[in-house]
Structures are given as structure tokens and as C-alpha cells.
Symmetry: C2
Subunit: 225 residues, 2 copies
DNA sequence: TTAGTTACTGAACACTCTGTTCGATTTAAT
DNA sequence: ATTAAATCGAACAGAGTGTTCAGTAACTAA
């Protein structure tokens, strides 16, 4: 079994997955913070340098000057470390996204975020690691979008396409645009990409939810469903 | 280096990547056909049984009763073997798809194909292997769709979204729907899925290409691009 | 400052899987 | 029947993973 950072099992019981935390004041041990950060930074640097797939655990702990066993005390494997880097983004966006705002403009935030970390994402796009990130992002964006969507579907029983499918569709479409954008070295601005995303996706989504917009929707799908 | 299936290098020169073929009659050696088929079948069975990622090369050659070196004489690695299975589908669809037909109905063929191989795809969806297949399929579908799209974009210079992006978008959207469908155990028919796909995707695509349909497209994207 | 607790070190280890090599053997094509 | 090519299979080197544990360092709370 994995060597936990606690010897006393009592703490473990109340402390699901939060290793290295002082339970009284809920303050993390400095060493833990330092180790996790240094490992994350090492991985980020190595991804840009040689790509995620070619980076080994040995590379990471060498770069970070961290003992092998320490690595495994914090992360199940390389993938877990990578994912942990995106937990921050997720938390950040959760706070931002929930308050007001047109749901389509969440896309802008994401395009801009990706743009500001271009070298990192560029090094992953098209590889396994990008698929991993996509999958991870999908889960969380799906939940986000679904909430944003609920009030927009009025009749709900009249909707030609289920809410789940529409939400899945929106997230996948966004990630597709994002992937294209990074893959082609960002030939447009984040604002332009958001515009294209809206233009491509919104009409179909409105139609799928049975929302009447300014647009007349007759005769669109003759043979459909 | 890899031990080629030919000792005479002269043949190799005229025979790019086509090992085990008689150059005079262009007929493949029976043993080669047999080996490739049996390996492919073994992998397919193992994917359903224990998943692609947990299947090792050893598993495959044990199941297939094939020597280790033989495996590597035919395929660079496990991934190459998996992909080779989809080359047949690709060739099949290329012949079907190019002749006439509404391009949206290519989707129906694909939904039906996936449906008829449900256990196999179900065992992969959501995993690494599925991402691999998606990526592989994306390349080929992109080229296919792009050809289908060209005659539809009239002005071409007036298009708000480039042909490349639209094609990428269509393929990604389709794969998203397909993924959802398999992941949720095919709660709709292939025809229904094709209908939803059309309904969700077509309006945006028409708008993106600047194609005037029966639908009026004013005021849709106020802030866009 | 100190006592007690927890995290980190780092080498050693067992393990799994990969991809290659090569001489002997079998099989297909003609 | 002859020849050329494919297959066999054991052996091998190598890379990487994840675990263990006793010793050391660093942090926290008092």
C-alpha cells in the first residue's frame, strides 16, 4: 500500500484525500505546499521542453529535487500530477462562471486562459495528454453548462434533443474549436474564436432545445428524427 | 532495426510498406494474411474482455498463437495493430461516401457501423484507446467532409468562418454525438441520432459558411466576431 | 525553545512490459 | 522439388514503475 503522510489513521478518517493538513486550523504544512508546487512547476517545464509523454517520473523528481517516494506520497502517478494543475483553473472558473454573465462568454475566459498559456497547451495538443485534459475539462464544463442551460429550456418536454445531449454537444464543440485554434497557432484572437463558436453552435442549440429565437425554424430538418 | 519480412532489399525499394506481397501478381502471401487477421481478431476479443489498455503484446500473441518476433515484423506496436483494424472501415467508407448522397447521411452509415460493433466500441469509449480512434477517424473524416463542403460555400470570401474550421467543427460534433451515444448505451436509434446531429449542426454550419437557407439569420450574434 | 509530529530522503528492490536478435524450422509459390 | 520468405521462440537488454524502510530534516504547537 501507499505510504500515507499520516501515521495516525484517525486523521485519515476525517481527512478524505487532504494529506498534510492540520485539522484544527485547516492550514496546510508548508513542506507539502512547497513540494506540490515544485513538482507541478517541474512537470510544466518538462512538458514544454520534451512533451508530456516523453517525460518520466524520474525526470520530474530530478528537476524538482524531490525524493522518489515523496512523489508517490503525493500523487498516484504522472497523470494525477498533471490533472492537479488544472484543479486550480477549475476552482478559479467556478467562482467566476457562476455569477451572472452570458454562458457563452465563459468560452471567452477559456480561450483567453489557453492563449496566455500557449506554449504549454501547444506542447500537448494532439497528443495523449491533450486528450486527457480534454476529458477532464469535459466533465467539469458539462456540469457548468448544464446549469446554465436549464432555465433556457422552457417546455422541456417539447425539446427535440435532451438537455444532456445538448450540454455534451456544446462542450465538445467548444473543445473542438479550442483544439483547432491551438493546433493552428492561434491565427485569430480569443474574441474572434468566441464569435465563431457562438455563430456555429448557438443556432443548433436553440433549435435542439426548442427555443424560439428571432429565427424561424421551419423546414430545417426534413428527414430528421 | 526491425527484421523485415524480406531479405532481398530490391523488393523493399519497390514495395513501400507492403510486406509479404508478391510483386508480380500483387497477391499477398497466405501466411501474411492469416497472421494479420488472427492478430487482429485476438486483439478485438481481448479488448472486449479486458480492455485495450490492460491488454499486453504478450496477451495478444498468446491468444493468437503467434511468435513474438512475428508480431513485431508486422506491426510497430499495439497501437498500429489497433489502427490497422480501422483501415478496412476507412476504405469501405471511402467507396461508399464519394458517390452522390447527402453528406449528412454519411453520419448514418457511421452510427450504424458503430452500433453493429457495440461491444467493441463500448469497451473503448472514454478510455485512451477511444481517443486514439477518434483522432484517427478525425483525420480521415475531415478530408471527406471538406470535399463535400466545397461546392456548398458559394461566395467563399464572404464566409464568416473558414472552411477548415467548419469541417473540423462538423467532424468533432459528430464524434461527440457518437461518443455520447455509446457511452449511454445507445438509448436512441442510429436514425434518431443522425436526426439530432443534423438538427444541432446544420444551422450553425450554414450560418458559418454564409449559406442562405430558408431561415433568416439576422441579429443572431450581436456581439460576435 | 523545545518536544513531538510529520514530511522528506534515497538507495535498493521486485516487477512488468517492451522491442530486438538470430539460428532453426515451417510453409507457400512456382 | 526447389527456393525464397515467413514464422518460431527463447534469450536478452533496457526502460520505467511503484514500494519499502530506516535515517534525517523541517514544521507546528505549546
Amino acid at each position: 500500500m501507499r505510504p500515507g503522510l499520516f501515521t495516525s489513521e484517525q486523521l485519515q478518517m476525517f481527512c478524505v484525500g487532504k494529506k498534510g493538513w492540520n485539522m484544527k486550523k485547516m492550514k496546510p504544512d508548508r513542506r507539502v505546499v512547497r513540494t506540490r508546487r515544485i513538482l507541478s512547476e517541474a512537470l510544466t517545464a518538462l512538458i514544454v521542453e520534451k512533451g508530456y509523454e516523453k517525460t518520466t517520473v524520474q525526470d520530474i523528481i530530478d528537476r524538482a529535487n524531490v525524493g522518489r517516494s515523496t512523489f508517490y506520497a503525493h500523487f498516484l502517478d504522472k497523470d494525477a500530477l498533471l490533472r492537479s494543475g488544472f484543479d486550480h483553473l477549475r476552482d478559479e472558473l467556478s467562482k467566476k462562471g457562476i455569477g451572472g454573465k452570458e454562458s457563452w462568454d465563459v468560452a471567452l475566459d477559456l480561450f483567453q486562459h489557453a492563449g496566455s498559456h500557449y506554449p504549454l497547451y501547444k506542447a500537448m495538443v494532439g497528443k495523449q495528454s491533450w486528450n486527457m485534459i480534454q476529458q477532464y475539462a469535459h466533465k467539469f464544463l458539462f456540469a457548468l453548462i448544464k446549469e446554465h442551460l436549464k432555465p433556457k429550456a422552457p417546455a422541456m418536454k417539447k425539446a427535440p434533443v435532451s438537455l444532456d445531449i445538448v450540454a455534451h454537444y456544446i462542450v465538445s464543440s467548444f473543445l473542438a474549436l479550442l483544439t483547432w485554434w491551438l493546433d493552428h497557432n492561434m491565427p485569430y484572437t480569443a474574441e474572434q474564436m468566441t464569435g465563431m463558436f457562438k455563430r456555429l453552435t448557438k443556432p443548433g442549440v436553440d433549435a435542439g432545445l426548442g427555443v424560439e429565437t428571432e429565427t424561424f425554424l421551419k423546414g430545417h430538418c426534413g428527414k430528421g428524427i
